[in-house]
Structures are given as structure tokens and as C-alpha cells.
């Protein structure tokens, strides 16, 4: 699959501080690619470089094969995006804003505008002035504007900002649909790890301006998982602990008033369950605790509470 976006040894400094340090990665058509990193890691800077807000100090950015420095217009015509909050002209209507944007691109017809407006669900309110929109509505308009000209690469920086849960799910569905049905490469940067987990196929993690790794979500979780933990909800808990300690004491991770977390998987789980049951302990539930992306993320990025 051809790379729609390619960063090759890209660096950027603000003054003496190197904010983005020699990063390289590729995104292919049809995939949803996540960009993760703590605050100050260089995410927004990288995105701004791709979108033409900032100049690239070193290295090259290729969009659909075109170098942003050399073929600016050709490269940029393949991108749509939202950086931080989508800002459009407040005293004009949503529709006028879209029309103005359409004018700057080739081949955006009136039908396309209507199509996109319906896709984001704004068909009833699109003719009102933007200053009357709620944040969620503005986000939808921003998304509409971003996909208006059928870009091959869609770049989103914190797209779920301000959306209600239904909106978040809708967005997720739209993005997946774009990736799967229209083969759009979607590049998402977000803090909402749970969302990323649900949406992305691959993820790049950045910290201190450097890429720490580019993997599929599964790989990432797998790497971070040290052991599988099962949660046994038992009553009474103290007695359960007593019973389990001789054989599985070292595997017990956490004890609370309601449950015990034990490092165990497969047959061992059924063993422990059987043991508890036959000892007269009431078993309320047994569930597998997945290592979350948050765990993996914080582990990979060192979990520091300072800004780089």
C-alpha cells in the first residue's frame, strides 16, 4: 500500500529548543493512525508542520508523494484537517463558510456540500450564523469542511473535544467509514486513550520530540502486558484470601472489600474457581482484567508528571 503521509527525519526547533527531533513514520491509505504523547511532546508541532502552519527545519514531509516544500499546492490539496478547535467566520453561516472553502478547491460541487452536511448531521441548522452554534455543532462543521474536497489524508487534532458521548461515537463511526469505504488515511492525535483504542489500527507514541514506537494497538497492549489478571468477586473476601493464600499467595495482586485480583489465566482460573466454590465461598463473578492502553502508554512514556 502506498504511503499517503511520509515524514522523513523531520526536525523543528523553537529558538534553541529542539521540539521535534528527527522523527520518521508513514501512514497508508485506509488506515486510522493514532498519534499519542504527553503534553509538550511535540504532537501539535508535528501536525502543524504537516499542515503548512510551520516551516520544517530539517527533513521532508511527503503527502501523496508530493513534497510539501517543493509542490506545496499539490501536496496540500490532498489534506483536510482540524487543528485544535475549528474556527470559522462567526458572522457568516455554516453554509457560507463551506462555500468559501469549496471555492478554494477544485471540483467541489454543490451536491458534495449537501452530501457532507448530511453526513455530519447538520442539515437543519447549516444556514444559521456560526456564532449561534454550540461547540459540538462547530466541530461537526469543522469536520464537514475538512472532508469537503475528498482529501486522501485527514488530520485531526483532539477531534472529540466538546462532543457529547453520542457525538463521540458518531465521529468514530464516520472516521471508520471514511477509512474503510473511501480509503482515506486518518491521522488522529488525542488524549482520549479509550477512544484511540477503539478507532486506531496503528499508533505512534511520541515523547520529548522523539518517536518512541510505531505499532498496532494489539502489539502495544501485548508488549505492555506483563501478566493476565483475573478478578474474583468473592464473599466473604477474608475467608477467600485465607483459602487461596497457601497455594496462590504469591499471585495475589490486589485485595479489596469486594474482590481479589490474581495473576492467573486459562486452567488456573478454573482451578481457583473450583477451590473457592468447594470451600463454600460465594462467587459473585470472575472477569479478566485487560491491561489498558493507559497502562501501556504511561509505562512507555515514563509516566512523569512534569512537562517535557
Amino acid at each position: 500500500m502506498e504511503a499517503i503521509l511520509k515524514l522523513f527525519n523531520v526536525s523543528k526547533s523553537f529558538g534553541r529548543k529542539k521540539v521535534v527531533d528527527n522523527i520518521s513514520f508513514e501512514i497508508c491509505a485506509g488506515e486510522v493512525f493514532g498519534f499519542l504523547g504527553p503534553n509538550g511532546a511535540g504532537k501539535t508541532t508535528t501536525i502543524k508542520m504537516i499542515m503548512g502552519f510551520l516551516s520544517v527545519d530539517e527533513g521532508d514531509v511527503y503527502i501523496n508523494g508530493f513534497n510539501v516544500k517543493k509542490d506545496y499546492e499539490k501536496a496540500m490539496s490532498n489534506i483536510g484537517g482540524i487543528v485544535e478547535n475549528p474556527e470559522m467566520y462567526n458572522n457568516l453561516s455554516g453554509l457560507t463558510n463551506l462555500q468559501m472553502y469549496a471555492r478554494l478547491h477544485d471540483g467541489v460541487t454543490k451536491q458534495r456540500i449537501d452530501e457532507v452536511v448530511t453526513l455530519v448531521g447538520m442539515q437543519n441548522r447549516i444556514k444559521e450564523k456560526m456564532k449561534k452554534y454550540s461547540l459540538g455543532m462547530k466541530q461537526r462543521c469543522g469536520l464537514a469542511q475538512a472532508i469537503l474536497h475528498k482529501p486522501k489524508l485527514l488530520i485531526l487534532d483532539e477531534p472529540t473535544n466538546g462532543l457529547d458521548p453520542a457525538g463521540i461515537r458518531e465521529l468514530r463511526d464516520i472516521l471508520k467509514k471514511l477509512a474503510q469505504e473511501e480509503n482515506v488515511a486518518v491521522f488522529v492525535s488525542s488524549h482520549l486513550l479509550s477512544e484511540m483504542e477503539l478507532m486506531c489500527s496503528r499508533v505512534a507514541i511520541i515523547n520529548n520530540g522523539k518517536i518512541l514506537g510505531v505499532k498496532t494497538v494489539k502489539e502495544l497492549l501485548a508488549d505492555a502486558t506483563r501478566a493476565v489478571i483475573h478478578r474474583f468477586m468473592a464473599k466473604p473476601v477474608e475467608k477467600a484470601v485465607e483459602i487461596l493464600t497457601p497455594q496462590y499467595g504469591s499471585l495475589i495482586k490486589t485485595i479489596t472489600d469486594d474482590y481479589i485480583d490474581i495473576e492467573a489465566e486459562g486452567d488456573k482460573v478454573s482451578e481457583i474457581t473450583a477451590l473457592l466454590a468447594t470451600s463454600g465461598i460465594g462467587i459473585l463473578g470472575v472477569s479478566k482484567i485487560e491491561t489498558s492502553l493507559e497502562e501501556a502508554f504511561i509505562n512507555m512514556t515514563g509516566g512523569g508528571n512534569y512537562i517535557a
Binding site: 502543524k48 499542515m51 503548512g52 502552519f53 510551520l54 516551516s55 506545496y72 499546492e73 499539490k74 501536496a75 496540500m76 490539496s77 489534506i79 483536510g80 484537517g81 487543528v83 485544535e84 478547535n85 475549528p86 474556527e87 470559522m88 467566520y89 462567526n90 458572522n91 457568516l92 457560507t96 463558510n97 468559501m100 472553502y101 471555492r103 478554494l104 478547491h105 469542511q145
Partner: protein, 515 residues
């Protein structure tokens, strides 16, 4: 190219929906109409200087009476004194008696003819001349006939001649006869040179040709002062010294050309009867209406342009809407050009709007044919520019000033990225700069004064130097006459360079900087 047009269209949509634009244009229109109305009100409240005139005439008649009484009083005093005087004193008294009697006769004669002596009407002048001659005659007649020299006899004869001719002219209201008397006087005057005679005779010819009688009901008499200007111009050309101003310095070739053109313009004005109602003092409300309206309107227009230019980029950056512009596949210079052209467009639209509203208002209040055309001269040949065209040209000459301020505000907007600062600084420079500039020559001297931008603006005044009202209004607004005299070409080039430098700074900054 298509992208540029698309960007430009977008910019115009943005501008046209801004409330501030609509409000300022609205204020401009209302202000223009209001000012015109104010002037109209002034005119209708003083129905002509007629009221003023007739009051003045009344006052002058009373003054004549007052003088008459005072002379009569003096006369009776003298009669008394004569009773007890002798010798030289007696002779003096008798001489004074004669002259006072002459004054009394003159005043009474004027009263019978219903002529006000202090006016500039030709009949009043004629009466003065008449009684001057009568006095001469009286004086000569008082001397024993035998003692008169040949010369004095001739003088007596001539005086007698003039007296009868003048009496005829006054009684029959014969202007032609009066002029002919004046011409003879000039020709017989041995004290002035032939060339000077020629100048005075030419003036008389003008007076005769165009019937410039200086009647009582045109006050003050703009014809007379025009003729005076023509004469002093001609005299300056004759002697190569500047008699038209108070400096009386020798003429440079530039000044010479200027005076020659000035004379041509004035002669043309007389020939075509293009005299504003009081174009010398220039403070007639009707004359003030158009320049005042255009002046106010231009002022609002500059403010509008500065506000738009000052916010053009900085506002987009601060609201964040610049993002959608940058994301779109257009090179930055195209965005810049589109903004500049849209600003120029709104400036031109504003100026046209101002022009149309002002012309219509002027026409509605003062009549559509009433404007005086602009008379100018090139190489001593006078030409005329129609009123409407002239106002249009003047307005657009002022547009150059507007472009400079616009570029300045735009540059600030891009460099500082702060709308308030850009607009504030531009307005401060606009107001404060011209004030400071008018004071500066008091403290500083030197060549560098030439390069201050404010000394190179005001094209609407400098391109049309024959409009005296222009000069007065311009002086009024800036407070002082500019000491620095740059040629128009120099100023144009300098302003062009300034605009280019500021524009390039703005362009380069926008093109390269990170957002």
C-alpha cells in the same frame, strides 16, 4: 489565477458582512448629508449678504450724514474764526474753508445722486475724482489770473474738461465715459512708465468689456480684487519682482511661471464670469458645502480603511480562522494579494459612494448646475475643468494618502498580529503626525524635513493649486502652512517608495513566519 479570484471573492464576502464596515459607511453618508444640510441652513438663515448688505448700506449712509454734519460744524467754526483773523492765518482759513466746502458739496452731491461714497461702484469713484478736480479748480481760481503759469493754465483747462465729462458720466450712468476719462488720466500721467500705463489700460479694457462696474450690491467686490491681482501679477512679471505676496523677492523661473499662469487664470475667470459669490474670503456656506462634505467623508474613509487593514491578518490569527486559509492549498502570497486587493476595492467603493452622495446632496440643496468649475493654466494658457469632474479628481487625488495609511496599518497588522495595536497606532499617526509635523519647523531645520511623509501628502491640494478655498480648508485642518515645498514628482516617488517598502515588509513577514 482562478485561486486568486476565489480568494478575493471570499475576502469581499467577509468584508461586506462586517458590521463595522456598514456602520462607518453609514456614518459617512449621514455626516455628508448632514453637513450639506447645515450649510444650506446657514444660507437660508442669512438670505444673502443682502441682509448684511442693506444693513451695511444703512450704516454707510448714516456715516455720510455724520461726516456732513461734522464738516458743517467745522465750516461755521471757520466762519467765526475768519471774523477775527488776519494775514497768513486768514489765507489759511480761507483755503481750509474752500476745501471743507468742497467736501460738503461732494457729500451732498452724492446724496442727491443716491450714491454711497465709500463703495467701490464706479460712480462713487467718479464723484471722488470729480470733486478732486473741483478742488484743484477752486484753488487755481483763488489765485490772481495773471499769476498763473502756462502749466497751471493747462491744468485748469484740463480739470474743467474732466469735470464736465465726469458730471455727464455720473448723471447718465455712463460707464463707458467714465472708463474713457480714466484712460485719459492714465495716458496723461507723466509719473508712470509706458509699460505701467499699458497694464492699467488693459485693466480698464477688461472692466469695460465685461461691464465690471463695481455696483453697490456686490460686496465685497470680488471683481475689483481679481483685477488688482491681475495687475500686481503683470507688474511682477514686468519688474521681475514678486509683488503678489508680501515678500517682494526677485522672481525665479518657477515663480515666474506660476504668476503668469495665475494672471491667465484670473483673466479667464473674468471673461467667463466664473466668480464664486465671495471667492476671495471663501467663507460663504454655499462654497464650503462641497469641500466640507468631501473632507468629512474622506476622513471617515481613512478611518474605515485603517480599521479594516489593521485587523485584516491579526484578527484572523486571533480568532483562529486563519487556519482554514492556511490549510487550503494556496500559497501564502496569493492570500496576501487577495487581501490587499480587497482592501483597495473597499476603499474605491467607499470613495465612489462618497462622491455620489456628495454630488447628489450638493445638487439637491444648492442646485445641480451651481458648482463653479476649476480654472487652471498651463504655460500661460487658461483651461477649465467641469465642477463634477474636478470634485472627482480631487477626491481620488486624496486616495493616494489613503493608500499610504492602508499599507501602514496592514504592515502593522501582520508584524504585530495585534488588531488593537495596529489600528491604534495607525490612527495615532494619522492624527498626531500631521499636528506634530506642523510644529516641527519651529524647532528643526534642515534637508531631512523633506523626507517626513506628512510633507509629501495632501495631493488633493497640491495638484489643484488654483483653488484658493482648497488652500484655506487645508490650512484650517492642519493648522499651518507647510514650510517644506517639495515638487509633486518628488512626493509621488517618495510615497511610492514608502508604500513599496511597507508592503514588502508586510508581504515577507506573512510569507515566512510561523503561525
Amino acid at each position: 489565477m482562478r485561486k486568486l479570484i476565489a480568494l478575493y471573492t471570499n475576502e469581499m464576502i467577509k468584508i461586506s458582512r462586517k458590521i463595522s464596515v456598514i456602520i462607518i459607511l453609514g456614518i459617512m453618508i449621514i455626516g455628508v448629508i448632514g453637513f450639506g444640510g447645515l450649510m444650506k441652513l446657514q444660507v437660508s438663515m442669512n438670505p444673502g449678504n443682502n441682509n448684511y448688505l442693506s444693513q451695511n448700506m444703512q450704516f454707510q449712509k448714516e456715516e455720510m450724514d455724520r461726516q456732513l454734519d461734522s464738516f458743517k460744524g467745522r465750516l461755521s467754526e471757520i466762519k467765526q474764526q475768519k471774523a477775527s483773523a488776519t494775514g497768513a492765518d486768514l489765507m489759511n482759513l480761507e483755503s481750509e474753508e474752500r476745501s471743507i466746502q468742497n467736501q460738503i458739496d461732494k457729500l451732498q452731491y452724492a446724496k442727491t445722486m443716491d450714491i454711497i461714497l465709500f463703495s467701490s461702484s464706479y460712480r462713487a469713484q467718479a464723484i471722488e475724482m470729480l470733486f478732486n478736480y473741483k478742488e484743484t479748480v477752486n484753488q487755481l481760481n483763488s489765485m490772481p489770473a495773471a499769476s498763473l503759469t502756462q502749466e497751471q493754465k493747462k491744468q485748469l483747462e484740463d480739470a474743467g474738461n474732466y469735470i464736465s465729462r465726469l458730471e455727464k458720466a455720473i448723471k447718465n450712468k455712463d460707464f463707458k465715459e467714465y472708463i474713457s476719462v480714466s484712460n485719459d488720466q492714465i495716458n496723461n500721467n507723466t509719473f508712470i512708465s509706458t509699460e505701467e500705463k499699458k497694464i492699467s489700460l488693459e485693466s480698464n479694457e477688461l472692466r469695460l468689456k465685461y461691464n465690471l462696474k463695481g455696483e453697490e450690491n456686490s460686496f465685497p467686490n470680488s471683481m475689483d480684487s481679481l483685477i488688482w491681482q491681475i495687475e500686481s501679477g503683470k507688474r511682477s512679471l514686468l519688474y521681475n519682482i514678486d509683488y503678489t505676496s508680501q515678500t517682494q523677492k526677485p522672481l525665479s523661473s518657477e515663480l515666474r511661471e506660476k504668476i503668469k499662469n495665475g494672471v491667465a487664470v484670473n483673466v479667464y475667470k473674468i471673461e467667463k464670469g466664473i466668480i464664486g459669490k465671495n471667492s476671495n474670503t471663501g467663507m460663504n456656506p454655499e462654497e464650503l458645502a462641497m469641500p466640507g462634505m468631501v473632507g468629512f467623508g474622506s476622513f471617515m474613509l481613512v478611518i474605515l480603511v485603517m480599521i479594516l487593514a489593521g485587523g485584516s491578518i491579526s484578527q484572523e490569527i486571533s480568532t483562529g480562522s486563519i487556519k482554514s486559509l492556511i490549510i487550503s492549498p494556496t500559497k501564502r502570497w496569493k492570500i496576501f494579494i487577495a487581501k490587499v486587493v480587497s482592501l483597495l476595492t473597499i476603499g474605491i467603493i467607499g470613495a465612489l459612494l462618497l462622491y455620489i452622495v456628495a454630488i447628489l446632496t450638493n445638487g439637491a440643496f444648492f442646485g445641480f448646475g451651481s458648482g463653479t468649475p476649476y480654472v487652471y493654466a498651463v504655460n500661460g494658457v487658461a483651461k477649465e475643468l467641469g465642477f463634477n469632474i474636478y470634485q472627482f479628481a480631487k477626491l481620488f487625488a486624496g486616495f493616494i494618502d489613503i493608500m499610504l495609511y492602508m499599507t501602514f496599518a496592514l504592515m502593522l497588522s501582520i508584524v504585530t498580529r495585534n488588531t488593537a495595536a495596529s489600528v491604534g497606532i495607525s490612527i495615532a499617526v494619522f492624527f498626531g503626525g500631521s499636528i506634530v509635523n506642523s510644529f516641527l519647523p519651529l524647532f528643526a531645520k534642515g534637508e531631512w524635513l523633506k523626507f517626513i511623509p506628512f510633507n509629501n501628502l495632501s495631493f488633493s491640494t497640491r495638484l489643484f493649486p488654483y483653488d484658493t478655498l482648497n488652500q484655506i480648508m487645508d490650512q484650517g485642518s492642519s493648522g499651518m502652512v507647510s514650510v517644506v515645498n517639495n515638487s509633486i514628482l518628488f512626493s509621488l516617488c517618495y510615497i511610492a517608495v514608502l508604500i513599496f517598502c511597507m508592503g514588502y515588509t508586510a508581504f515577507d513577514s506573512f510569507n515566512r513566519r510561523d503561525i
